[in-house]
């Protein structure tokens, strides 16, 4: 065992890549939940994004067009969910689960002719000058566009939720839709928009998986990433920056596990694979125990259907 064999700069760089799909999908879900909707279909939207992004990427030869298609596919699927729960007033939990199952199935069907094909490459963009900095440059400034985009999204979403009037309206709809409604805000429209945004983000997350991280299409390739994204939102207490840190911890454990193995450390792999989920459960317990935090960040109307009082 020789810890010096692990290149920590590369380790951090690869954990960022591994975590990016999680960051994107979880940020989308964060906005959805802040508007008071619980969409358990993240996994389904991610995999639809993954397969559509891959197909379009292969057919057009451009990973960026593929990524855009992934966003649209995720958004389209989420519209179905939005219609069912907002217009038909169906149960959100059941509809979300159905969305996941539906997404996994249809993605397998769509992707069948595309297994074992190479995807177009996405180039990394080294930020001028600062990417030259040893260690830090390798860690943070030699990535592809989507990684930077995910980091910018964290900032933008934080700003949107905490510093902008529209963000406040979105939160008020999530906290108490009846009050928001009586103040004249269009609850259904706002939630529609939030759900669509969440779908697009999950789609991009999936597209990143099939176009950059692997890069290949395989049936069921999201392998539970959507569920981790959902857990991350709770783990973060509905805060964008904590969400980012959480995602990097999750991704980091996976990458660290591989690195430790390669230098010959005798570790229990099953235990390490379990660690992210254990951490989520622990975080949930800790969050629900801290009483002084009031409502713990969870939106008041999370998961409740909005019925217009006339």
């Amino acid at each position: 065992m020789d810890l010096s064999e692990i290149n920590f700069a590369v380790l951090v760089a690869s954990l960022i890549v591994a975590s990016t799909p999680l960051v994107l999908a979880a940020l989308g879900e964060l906005i959805v939940e802040k508007s008071g909707v619980l969409n358990l279909g993240v996994e389904g939207m991610m995999i639809i994004g993954a397969v559509t992004g891959f197909i379009v990427g292969v057919e057009t030869g451009s990973a960026y067009i593929g990524m855009m298609a992934a966003a649209m596919a995720g958004a389209l699927l989420s519209l179905l969910f939005a219609f069912i729960i907002l217009i038909m007033q169906a149960n959100q939990v059941a509809s979300g689960l159905a969305l996941t199952i539906f997404g996994l199935g249809i993605a397998a069907l769509m992707g069948h002719p595309y297994t074992g094909i190479k995807s177009p490459q996405i180039s990394t963009i080294s930020v001028p000058f600062i990417s030259e900095i040893p260690v830090l440059g390798t860690m943070f400034f030699q990535h592809d566009l989507i990684v930077y985009l995910s980091l910018i999204s964290v900032l933008v979403i934080w700003y949107f939720l905490n510093r902008m009037r529209t963000g406040l309206i979105l939160r008020s709809v999530g906290e108490d839709h009846d009050v928001a409604h009586s103040l004249g805000y269009r609850v259904v429209t706002i939630r529609f928009l939030a759900i669509t945004f969440g779908g697009a983000m999950a789609g991009v997350g999936g597209g990143y998986l099939s176009l950059v991280r692997v890069p290949q299409w395989t049936e069921g390739m999201t392998a539970g990433a959507g569920w981790i994204a959902l857990a991350l939102v709770v783990f973060s207490g509905w805060r964008p920056f904590r969400l980012l840190i959480g995602a990097y911890i999750f991704g980091g454990i996976t990458i660290l596990q591989l690195n430790l193995q390669a230098i010959g450390v005798n570790i229990n792999i099953a235990l390490l694979s379990m660690a992210p989920y254990l951490a989520t459960i622990l975080a949930l317990v800790v969050i629900s125990m801290s009483r002084f935090r009031g409502n713990r960040g969870a939106p008041g109307c999370l998961g409740r259907s909005f019925v217009k009082i006339t």
């Binding site: 064999e5 692990i6 290149n7 590369v10 380790l11 690869s14 591994a18 069948h112 297994t115 074992g116 190479k118 490459q121 998986l209 991280r213 692997v214 890069p215 290949q216 395989t218 049936e219 390739m221 392998a223 996976t254 990458i255 591989l258 690195n259 193995q261 390669a262 230098i263 010959g264 450390v265 005798n266 792999i269 099953a270």
Partner: protein, 360 residues
Amino acid sequence: MRQFMKYFSASFLFISMVITSSIAIAADYKVGFIYIGPPGDHGWNYQHDVGRKAVDEAFGDKVETVFQENVPESADAERVMTQMALSGADMIFATSFGYMEPVLNVAKKFPKVKFEHATGYMTADNVSTYSARFYEGRTVAGHIAGKMTKSNTIGYVASYPIPEVVRGINSAYLAAKKANPNVEFKVIWIFTWYDPAKEADAAKTLISQGADVILQHVDSSAIMTVAEEAGVYAFGQASDMSAFGPNAHLTAIINGWAPYYVKKVKQGMDGTWKGAEQTFDGIGAGMVIIGPLSDKIPDSVKKEAMEIRDGIASGTLHSFTGPINKQDGSPWLKAGETADMGTLLGMNFYVEGIEGDIPQ
């Protein structure tokens, strides 16, 4: 709503009828195949499907083959094989190690159906096993890897700690060490046969730790893609994978199941098939094929590799020829001695020189 349900259940009934009727086959002799992943993986499953198609071609209308892909190594495998047997399959090829228990269970229920289980070690009156001496191919690959590495670090992405995989690591290591005494192996176990995301992560990790040649004992072509991007070398697993890494691909250890499948189906048809047989063929019988060698390999190394291949094929060379010590330094094979079948089939130790432990 009721109207809708009526249509829905009617169409559901129709669809299920279509499905069952397509499974109920009409030819004289029916052969079923179950695959652990999709035949489109361009790896392990792809080659089994090549074998299946060879059966189709060899017997024409007399034999009908069916296959089921993505069958998990669990009770699902039992269900799928039971379904195949019930719809009239005369012979079933179960093409992954983890189908061992399910095969034995289903074989007990259908004594007239003949079962062929790949890479397993348990047989019954109507269950035979077959496996390839992949380790022979890994001796050739190991030699090339040892000659091609500049960092003297070779990465190895392994699936499950079963004898077949351990054998491959040992065989590749011994050959690489012989070709280049400074060589060092780094092994990552990912506990899956087919998960491109995990395979890619493992390969990236190995490369980040200095490996410039990657060997794999997992099924997808993701590692080849990663190697190509990173500018290092890799070997195709089960199938030729040069399409995924034209510069990275050194050669491939290709599984040649077609002759075996055709032979066994023929035996099944004319009644000479026997149960409780264990086939273990290698380069000599054509069950392991060394793919075309890349132009990146110097001619002298190409020549050596071909000599090793031909030596193994003719039996003058054995992948495990003593003196070889086990990892802990205790002697395993004396000088000139070669490994016996039993030890090979149950191999659960590293040879001397490999660092790290085999996970339990």
